[in-house]
Amino acid sequence: MSFSDQEILETVRMIELETLDIRTITLGISLWDCADSDIDASCEKIYAKIVHHGKDVVAVGNSISSDYGIPIVNKRIATTPISFVAAASGAKDLTPFAKAMDAAAERCGVDFIGGFTSYVHKGYTNTDRALFDSIPSALASTKRVCSSVSLASTRAGINMDAVNHFAQVVLDTAHATADQGGLGAAKLVCFCNAVEDNPFVAGAHIGVGEAETVVNVGVSGPGVVRSALARLGPEADLLAVAETVKRTAFKITRMGELVGREAARRLGTSFGIVDVSLAPTPAIGDSVADILELIGVDRTGAPGTTAALALLTDAVKKGGAMASSSVGGLSGAFIPVSEDAGMIRAVQTGALSLAKLEAMTSVCSVGLDMVAVPGDTPVDVIAGIIADEMAIGMINNKTTAVRLLPIPGRKVGETVDWGGLLGTAIVQDPGRFGARILHGRGGRVPAPLQGYKN
């Protein structure tokens, strides 16, 4: 099969100059069979099973990267939600489960493992409550474990008791890791309409309908889309912009499809999904905010930003859907504030407020992500922010998430620098008013009419 020089150079340019990469190969491992009435036995089984299946994932990722010349940045593991596995033990403190996961992740050589997870969108089991209470110590005493919880869904409504509880857990986790700038909260996320095949941390886990083992792949390429739009120029109309994004997303997804199939073949397992998400990094040019500004807003957060983001997210999904029968996960555009140099610039210049960010999450593929707030933000304010985001997801039948970072000891406008992929966070202003009575009521926001589809 022959290719034109233009096709060949386009692919090489994407990888060499535009930071196109496979962001993650995530091996999902079911831990259902690790349940045991004895917590030590259960943890032993968890460690054994993760290592048994996951010990080759890094080597396989590296070999594919070397064989095809495609960068594969992260190799990760996602597990069955631990609340299900831990239930049989009746344990009140689930930290030992997190420690077993952490040790197994270290043994496998992966940087993160997701699955310290609980589904409480309708109600708690005893183990769910224990898991919530264990999150601060679990994240403070491990390095690689990520935790996620499902607090709401279009079918079930919003579990406000869990939202309130989770808000306190976020604060406690940040304070338990105060010596690292509240880093624990960066490994903790809550969802409305959680996706059960998400390969990206912190929300990675494999849900109840998933297979024994499965490979899910996350592809990224904000830099590629940005360059394609820069070449298109400011004269082209919005249909041309959407078409350019769609074509680019198609090509990015195809590369994810190739890597996913190959990883599944080499690991001897099934290929789950490609998550085609424009996931920014702090690297220059690898920014979703830059794309929004190329589409035509002066600064991300200015009027028009939500419309530009809606066009972008939709075009990415369309390109991805054409390219693969297995598009899943979150697929769209991520807008994590601290991880995107353009978003940080927008916050610094006063263009992007928390309120505008919330509006943007109604059309992006995830939600309020990596948003820093003062460490002394009251719990009812945190709960209110989470509840708003859950409501957007519930009514619009989409996934929304919140990863808030209450930075201990920091005030509005101050910064905290974690380095690496997590980037630099600027503490944003959550406003002067709270929601004390709403917070105090508890209970459940009933499922909306949109949920009654039978």
Partner: protein, 172 residues
Amino acid sequence: MARRFLTSEDLRRLAAGGKEVIVDEETIVTAAAQELARAHGILIVTGRGSAWKEPTPDRGPDAERAQRTLPHLPEPQGDPDEVVTGVVVTAVGRNRPGILAEITTAIAATQGSVHDISQKMVEGYFHMVVTVELPPGTMFGAVKRHMECLGGPEDYVVRVMHERVFRFMHRI
């Protein structure tokens, strides 16, 4: 009864003073159980009497089906061992005499045959694209390592990619 795991607690109970514990070939013996067995001289054996060793991971029923039915894009027809591997070599760098010769000599050393070649000069820099077919059985990784040693940061840079990457990205 098939045993999924053998934990240290299982080992204590099953050994009960004895020196041998029988497990299935597929049983996963936890690290703690293996250590305990070593410390107490307990042998872990399979039903056939051979010493237990870590089983090949059982990736589950879906995996078995996926391996059989994994939908592939149209691949070259025929026995995989008989099919040539397509490789795309690109080189970019400052121009000087002998670069083309160096690259084609390296390709010849891998037994590859040049299928297509093109070169452009832009302001003293050359841009070369060579499509190569490697004979059946050639290890792509070895060819890639061999070719990418050419040139250098101050000279020219060679990148070798599998043809499949371009097929996936540019063909439906």
